[in-house]
Symmetry: C4
Subunit: 126 residues, 4 copies
């Protein structure tokens, strides 16, 4: 299937990258993920803006998801225009030039003592 599905704007109000982790990295590094799915025929050009509780938003973080691919983006790997600070509440808005689907997760299922959360992000009607 190469049909475009989803929305061009998504919001994730929850965001928090813990400042510490247990276990070998990168597999067991505590992380937040935006899982992005682009089922369409064209690459998705994506801009992410990060919102904070006490200062102006930062962004755009720019990335691309090729046609018919998924990208499980770890927020802690974003570097430009600046790293997302640890131990800090944030939120994100993801804008694409083609429809995509976004799911928010925090996960590490390979250690018995890990914790998981996940939810489909909030799709904004165009």
């Amino acid at each position: 299937m190469s049909k475009e599905i989803g929305h061009k704007i998504w919001a994730i109000p929850e965001g928090y990258i813990p400042g510490s982790s247990n276990g070998p990295e990168p597999e067991f590094l505590s992380h937040e993920t935006a899982c992005i799915l682009n089922t369409g025929k064209h690459s998705a050009n994506i801009e992410i803006t990060i919102y904070f509780s006490d200062r102006e938003p930062v962004g755009p973080y720019i990335l691309k998801v090729p046609s018919r691919r998924t990208l499980h983006l770890r927020f802690n790997e974003l570097k430009e225009p600046e790293e997302i600070p640890r131990d800090t509440d944030y939120a994100s808005v993801i804008i694409s030039d083609v429809p995509i689907v976004v799911q928010h997760s925090r996960l590490d299922s390979r250690q018995a003592e890990n914790a998981l959360l996940s939810t489909i992000a909030f799709p904004v009607n165009d």
Copy 2:
């Protein structure tokens, strides 16, 4: 981006603040959070009503989320008109004068034995 996104009314049927916690506070205090994102140009004036299983609702709890900011509100920090009782089932309705996006979480990812849940709250069509 300063576009308003989201809805003005949100519901979270699940709510429960455990009466006990493990670990140093406030980082490891068991807590429920409503993560609120206001991407618009105007402050969001918000009223929260708390529903119970066996008595009349309590509220409004009043708070403000500035323009282009996120607030990760811990329900256990609400004080007025009264604290939310511990070990008690509750639900909440969040009403804003401008569109916002709300995600419900219970989380502590910094202790190996913590548990997490999260979901985008239920948006009510205006």
Copy 3:
């Protein structure tokens, strides 16, 4: 607020009550919950149907949620027309005569080693 919010039909495809638990009951009994919120002026008369993988659906399970109240219903407490079997995949459809909001959870946050999941259920357009 006494405004009716939500939908009259909700679906929860995931359901599974573990056959064993750790810790004193009922607090630490493994359980699945449908958190139901009725913000309106009238009691919600609710019928739940349980679907299985290999036999006909069972129901209706009948319950009431008063006006302006929440009910965090544990599926393992349903008795009539029959108990939901343990260690068995099931799904549920919840039908109300007035709009309600439903969130699905499996939770026990009072033991360090508990696990949690939660999602707003799937609302069916009338």
Copy 4:
């Protein structure tokens, strides 16, 4: 109830099958599940396509969910056209010829140290 509810196309951007597990199988095998509910009068003929980060999609995986039944499909049990690789990011699109409801879960609630996640999948408007 034999009313058809749901949508014909669903997306789950998050997918990851851990390469290792703890505990006796199959109960404690780490697994990802698509919980599918078909409340209608007709069997659901379903095709699943799996998307990856770095190669073409694989599928369709073909399955059937009978009328008025639920199927809690474990992705790690899919064999044809090929097994889903472990320790690999993937996403899925589920297409049915009749309306269904889909919930994504990763769960094992019978071991104290297990972790859980769940969310209603993303429904695509026809």
